[in-house]
Subunit: 216 residues, 2 copies
DNA sequence: GTCTATACAAAGATAGAC
DNA sequence: GTCTATCTTTGTATAGAC
């Protein structure tokens, strides 16, 4: 059974139902329903009728078309809304514990934070990966958001530590890429196959990464 | 325009046509066509009629159904054939240059080989990622093939070098995971967004990985 | 803005001639 | 084993009442 995932404004008296409370505008309920269905069935595999049903509209009525001109337009809207949400919630700044003090602790905290971020991003990554051909420019935008900017920020932070002599000096950009991709690849693998490779865990991965970066 | 990608048995007199030569059995032509179309349009986005056309059968005739019971059965067959092919072509053993001699050179060669392998595997990874829900057991099989076994083999090789004192001693499994995921993540990112992050290339990534593993 | 009803097209699958 | 023809279902989208 599927429950509306986002917190909704109104009473919880209908929270056990599949449909969102009436107080949520229809357009938003359609976006929620589509987000869920596209993730589970893909774009081509989801019908407008299913979306209507899940949004609390009459299945097979064209009521959907009072809110979106076509299914394609809906997909764009779904992805755009989600990217906006991510951008709004984004937390770039490291916590206070990460600023001064032990480099090893700061790195471990940063890596752990990155893994958690990836977990929150996973549904969007999955949808965009699957439907990238329908999405045009949004894909570049997301690449910028997920990879380029991430490697950039991490690279600068690492360069700072190198300059301060806290870690061995290397190609900061390539090191940032190794770290970023190791974390991303690990996360994707776990999400995709359901479990990490035998003998590897969040902790052992992070510890080893910290050892490598600090040159221990 | 799309040309049949696989080398075919017969004359090349028709190599400029989209359809495969007649000497290739219809079942194989259907598998080729479906492999191509599923990759470009996804499973739900591809119609039996398109597959028939691309396989040189009459579009809209049900001739397809003389060879497969349903579109679902075809998807399984396509993936299974591809996994078999990968398994058959697999090259586990390192080349002679990688055996003795400089550890740094051996590692660099191995990492480069892995990136090339990933490039060959990319279409299959893409298809399975997209259609994993239709594929059941094949996904686990592929995870075993792509991740577990890879981390395993690399872990043992690294452990060997650690024992020989050629590289610093660490958690061999976690180190193997870092290397595997860094390479995989880098490859996925390039394949997905079309270009590596600014300032990072195959060479700088591999060099940095070698430095990290050897403790330079 | 939502409903009932339905037009219209596309898609999966089958029948039977050749 | 492929074809023409067609059945049936499903899906996108529209019309018009309320």
């Amino acid at each position: 059974m599927h429950i509306a995932r986002r917190s909704l404004t109104s009473s919880c008296s209908v929270s056990f139902l599949r449909i969102a409370p009436v107080s949520v505008p229809t357009r938003a309920r359609i976006l929620d329903a589509a987000w869920d269905l596209f993730l589970r069935q893909g774009f081509a595999g989801t019908t407008v009728t299913q979306i209507e049903a899940a949004a609390g509209l009459s299945a097979g009525s064209g009521s959907f078309y009072r809110h979106f001109r076509s299914k394609e337009e809906l997909l764009q809207a779904v992805v755009d809304r989600e990217v906006d949400r991510i951008n709004a919630e984004r937390q770039i700044n490291p916590g206070p514990e990460e600023i001064g003090g032990d480099v090893r602790i700061a790195l471990a905290l940063e890596f752990e934070r990155r893994l958690n971020n990836l977990r929150r991003l996973h549904p969007l990554m999955k949808l965009v990966a699957r439907e990238r051909d329908h999405l045009g420019a949004s894909v570049d935008h997301l690449g910028e958001l997920l990879v380029t900017r991430n490697v950039d920020i991490r690279s600068q932070r690492l360069a700072g530590w190198m300059a301060a002599g806290a870690i061995p000096t290397r190609d900061a950009e390539a090191l940032a890429a190794v770290v970023t991709f190791a974390l991303t690849g690990y996360h994707l693998s776990v999400g995709f196959f359901g479990h990490p490779p035998a003998g590897v865990s969040d902790e052992s991965l992070i510890t080893t990464l910290v050892d490598l970066v600090t040159g221990v």
